[in-house]
């Protein structure tokens, strides 16, 4: 799991992964349609969250 810089027990939701970590995690399942869609969802979610955090 991605390391969390906050108090381990204080926050459950993890630090969101970077593209390199995600690419490694999904490297064995590339080409599978649901997994491609899942990876795209994660990447978009992370990007949108980063944008909204920046705006905030």
């Amino acid at each position: 799991m991605a390391e969390n810089s906050e108090d381990k027990q204080g926050s459950i939701f993890p630090r969101l992964m970077n593209n390199e970590e995600l690419d490694h995690m999904f490297s064995d399942v590339r080409g599978n349609e649901p997994m491609e869609e899942l990876m795209a969802a994660v990447k978009e979610y992370i990007k949108e969250k980063a944008n909204s955090d920046d705006a905030g």
Binding site: I12, F13, P14, M25, E37, L38, A41, V42, Y45
Partner: protein, 284 residues
């Protein structure tokens, strides 16, 4: 090795099993004829469990606005399903303490993943209009029971499996197959059977890697399977490996999964999980 594991688990059962009170609560809450008073009497036999029920009932996890001061009111407010969940989880947490980190397998990370999976299963169940969403929460919460059983009772081999998963960069369950001949889903199923856990929960534990094998329970086990993979995808893994397993296509199609649904789900997960940290203190 499979028989060896079963024999050892049977011996373990002589030493440590789910508490009698928890077993009574499981049995009572499964019968429609049982009254809240009967369940209250059973829980009151165990002061530690009584206090945990009240603590959790008053936590942000359930978020009731008024303070709940008696077991009977906790039962009425939370309902039998939640009370059963608390009794089973508290009893298991007593057998495999939270604060025990081998250096290879972090139990706090394990419970974080499990809790996230319970929450995600409940969210997916709610979205698809299922009724027994609290039961689904327990399935998600305990789907990886076999991992803590391996960590507690087969430490040396489990550490080897984790090392192998890291070394070969493979899924932990594949490494477990190499070391034990079976994976944590099968081990959890064996332990759960010995502990007399409810049959539906046993199916979630046994088949969460392959819900197609769960026959008539496929829909509910598919929820747990999807939640497990979605949690891992967002980084809520329990530290045993760094790869993601393939999603079962039947489960994916059954819940009409797509990119937008998953993004919405991540957003809901984040909110719900933020309100759930109290649950981890309950496990201590």
């Amino acid at each position: 090795m499979q028989d060896e594991i079963k024999n050892k688990l049977n011996k373990i059962n002589d030493l440590s099993t789910l508490s009698v009170v928890a077993q009574n609560v499981i049995q009572l809450t499964q019968s429609p004829k049982t009254s809240a008073l009967q369940v209250g009497d059973a829980i009151s036999q165990d002061p530690a469990l009584s206090s945990k029920v009240l603590r959790l009932a008053n936590s942000t996890f359930y978020g009731f606005p008024r303070k709940i001061v008696t077991i009977s009111s906790a039962i009425v407010i939370l309902g039998f399903s939640n009370i059963r969940n608390i009794a089973i989880t508290a009893s298991i947490a007593n057998l495999v303490p939270l604060k025990k980190d081998s250096g290879y397998f972090d139990r706090l990370e394990f419970w974080k993943h499990s809790l996230a999976c319970g929450i995600t299963s409940r969210l997916l169940a709610k979205r698809s209009g299922m009724k027994n969403i609290e039961e689904v929460f327990l399935w998600g919460l305990l789907h990886d029971l076999g991992k803590i059983v391996l960590d507690e009772y087969f430490k040396e081999e489990f550490v080897r499996a984790i090392s192998l998963a890291k070394e070969k960069d493979i899924l932990l369950r594949d490494a477990e197959e190499e070391i034990f001949g079976i994976d944590h889903a099968a081990v959890g199923g064996m332990m759960g059977e010995i502990w007399n856990l409810p049959q539906t929960l046993l199916k979630a534990i046994r088949f969460h890697h392959n819900p197609s094998l769960a026959n008539e329970s496929m829909r509910m086990v598919a929820l747990v399977h999807l939640s497990d993979v979605f949690c891992r995808a967002i980084g809520l893994n329990d530290g045993g490996d760094s790869k993601i397993p393939l999603i079962n296509t039947d489960a994916w199609n059954l819940f009409k999964c797509n990119k937008q649904l998953i993004k919405n789900l991540f957003s809901e997960m984040e909110q719900e999980i933020a309100n759930s940290t109290d649950f981890l203190t309950f496990l201590e």
